[in-house]
Amino acid sequence: MTQTFIEILRRALDEELARDPRVHLLGEDVAVGGAFGVTKGLAEKHGMQRVRNTPISEAAITGMATGAALCGLRPVLEIMFIDFATLSLDCLVNQSAKYRYMSGGQLAVPMVVRTQAGAAGGAAAQHSQSLEAWFTHVPGLVVVAPSSPAQAYGLLKSAIRLGDPVLFIEHKRLYAMKEALEDHAELPFIGTARVARSGTDVTVIAYSAMVRNALEAAAELAGAGISIEVIDLRTLAPLDMATIAASVAKTHRVVIAHEAVQSSGLGAEISARIGSELFDELDAPVTRVGCPFAPIPFAPDLEQALLPGTRNIVRAVRELAG
């Protein structure tokens, strides 16, 4: 039975609420389903005390989730758009990320911040960003970005059980994606990437919605006799360099693709690490596919001209493989 990304997220939250009484959901409109309907029905089922609406106070509710996590709850906070996480930054960066370290290990912050990123047509610059790189830059935060419903199911559950503050970044364009869950699939380890498609000529590293683009590119390139290996990072911080290394040792050529702005994006970090740890494996410089350095425009013509997609990946691979 296939379900949408949203339905599967809801199912994961439902199961976690049932499994662990410490799990509490909070966020703007979550008790009535949330902006995208992810939490629909959960307040009715588990009670208004377990699934709580908040006013529009990102700073305070992030702080409350953090304080509650310090005291034994497992809060799952919903921040409607990652663009609004700017208001949560003081708490996430100065408190949540650092509590374990600054207390010398006395305290932990087992909380998950669910948010969503990406452009979806006409949402414009303040509702379309991909800001994950900021959070990967903060020691103490874990950043996860699922690429499909099945991945989201396992990763969300693992994130809730991890014991560290996790940014769980969903993607607007994936919300309608459908997939069937495997029975009794093992929950993935946070911090491990997966090979979404095996290949021999070029490694394409991607995450979130770009994995789908990379797989489309793979199908198109296969027709031209070019075989690419697609790695779905799943966890952005910490990075699974072992999976990347095994792939690069095979293909010797790398493209990193993300929707976020290319300049100082996560691709820059991965590229630097490949250059320094896997230098002798490289047959060509590492190539990045990312968004050019501009805010996301409102008009669809402009937005489409800007956003990177399948054609950009195909072009980058062709240049490398040719």
């Binding site: 010797h252 002798d280 494996e281 490289l282 047959d283 060509a284």
Partner: protein, 400 residues
């Protein structure tokens, strides 16, 4: 005017590092082929290195007292030798300043920059070094003339022109890379592995009977077990009983770092003759496989080997090999160990022989087994015990 690179040669059988003691020629001086050019200090001694080329010494890349490895480029000579592929020095901006900027100009720009450095990818450099190829003789097809993996691979496949010499009369045959690899490993084996040989005859009567009954009951389509399958299982089982032989010697006998590394399991190679050479597919954890499974795997692996399609993990990891030259082979032969393995079993052809058993004369199907063993791993006693146990299994009836 051609530029030729001079490199650190290998001195002696084993040489890892060298130190350039002093140059015997100065920049600008003429050098004749065979003339002493520099003094090189190796682990063993200081030797004079002669120039492999004639010409004028135009650039020195390695200074006195600096360390170098085999193959490191140490100087440039300029000469008029026509056969040497020309590698002119091109200043970095010259291509755009003087040549029309056409797309093809990119490709034909030599990969050498003014300093003598070749533009190449790390992976290409590594592959070239592993195959003793000179990057300067490889045309780079990458951006700005960069030498890439595909370029090096192409050079490996192509027949390389010997440096500085045209083809001589027919009768001189360049070696394929497989043959060169074989030559290298056999030379290494002969030179560095102290091997000794023990022999024993095996009576195939019991196995013959067993095999006959198995073949009768064999389901159609299933691969027929061969003598080699039984030999593989027997070797594996004997290695389990005598694990001391299932190890490899590692390191330098002169140093305290020398160790015996026990194998992680019974991994046995089967020598397969292919066109123009030998390939050795490895059966990992052979003792865990029954005869039927061994037969299946062996027939698939041999088929792939004959097509040159063995996978990398199928060619690695063995400590012991089996070489059976079959019915047309010699009565007995000694096989050379394939480094870094520790032993190899050579199986002579099966012949009906007259043997004395319990005072009476019998005719039995016999083969001579010759076991070659690395003396750093085992002594005669262990080798003899191994052969005895192996023969016991082969002449016994406890197959699975």
């Amino acid at each position: 005017m051609a530029r030729v690179a001079l490199e650190i040669p290998k001195v002696g059988l084993v040489m890892e590092n060298a130190r350039l003691v002093r140059w015997l020629k100065k920049v600008g001086e003429l050098v004749k082929q065979g003339e002493p050019l520099l003094e090189l200090e190796t682990e063993k001694s200081v030797v004079e290195i002669e120039s492999t080329e004639s010409g004028r010494l135009v650039e020195i890349l390695l200074q006195a007292d600096e360390e170098a490895r085999i193959g490191d480029r140490i100087a440039w000579l300029e000469n008029d030798a026509a056969e040497t592929p020309p590698v002119p020095a091109v200043p970095a901006g010259a291509a755009t300043a003087h040549a029309p900027a056409t797309p093809t100009a990119e490709l034909s720009t030599p990969a050498t920059a003014a300093s003598g450095r070749i533009r190449s990818s790390p992976a290409a450099r590594r592959l070239a070094m592993q195959n003793a190829l000179d990057l300067g003789h490889i045309t780079g097809t990458g951006p700005r003339g960069r030498v890439q993996l595909s370029d090096v691979r192409r050079s490996i496949e192509a027949r390389p022109a010997p440096k500085g010499a045209a083809y001589a009369a027919s009768g001189v045959q360049p070696l394929s890379s497989m043959r060169r690899a074989l030559a290298r490993s056999m030379t290494l084996s002969n030179a560095t592995v102290p091997q000794f040989f023990v022999e024993r005859a095996v009576d195939w009567s019991a196995l013959r009977a067993r095999r006959a009954s198995v073949l009768v009951e064999l389901p159609s389509g299933a691969p027929r077990p061969s003598v080699n399958d039984y030999l593989l299982q027997a070797i594996a089982r004997t290695l389990l009983v005598l694990p001391a032989l299932n190890a490899t010697f590692s390191g330098d006998s002169d140093s305290t770092d020398a160790v015996l590394v026990a194998a992680s399991g019974t991994h046995i190679g089967l020598v397969v003759a292919v066109e123009n050479g030998l390939l050795v597919p490895v059966f990992h954890d052979a003792e865990k496989m029954g005869i039927a499974e061994l037969a299946r795997r062996r027939s698939e692996a041999v088929a792939r080997a004959l097509q040159g399609r063995l996978k990398r993990e199928e060619s690695e990891g063995a400590t012991f090999s089996l070489s059976n030259l079959g019915a047309g082979g010699p009565d007995r032969f000694t096989a050379l160990i394939n480094p870094p393995q520790s032993a190899i079993l050579a199986v002579g052809r099966e012949r009906d022989c007259v043997v004395a058993i319990g005072g009476s004369i019998h005719v039995r199907p016999i083969s001579q087994l010759t076991l070659t063993v690395d003396h750093r791993v085992a002594d005669g006693r262990l080798a003899a015990d191994f052969l005895a146990s192996l023969v016991e299994v082969l002449e016994g009836d406890s197959w699975y």
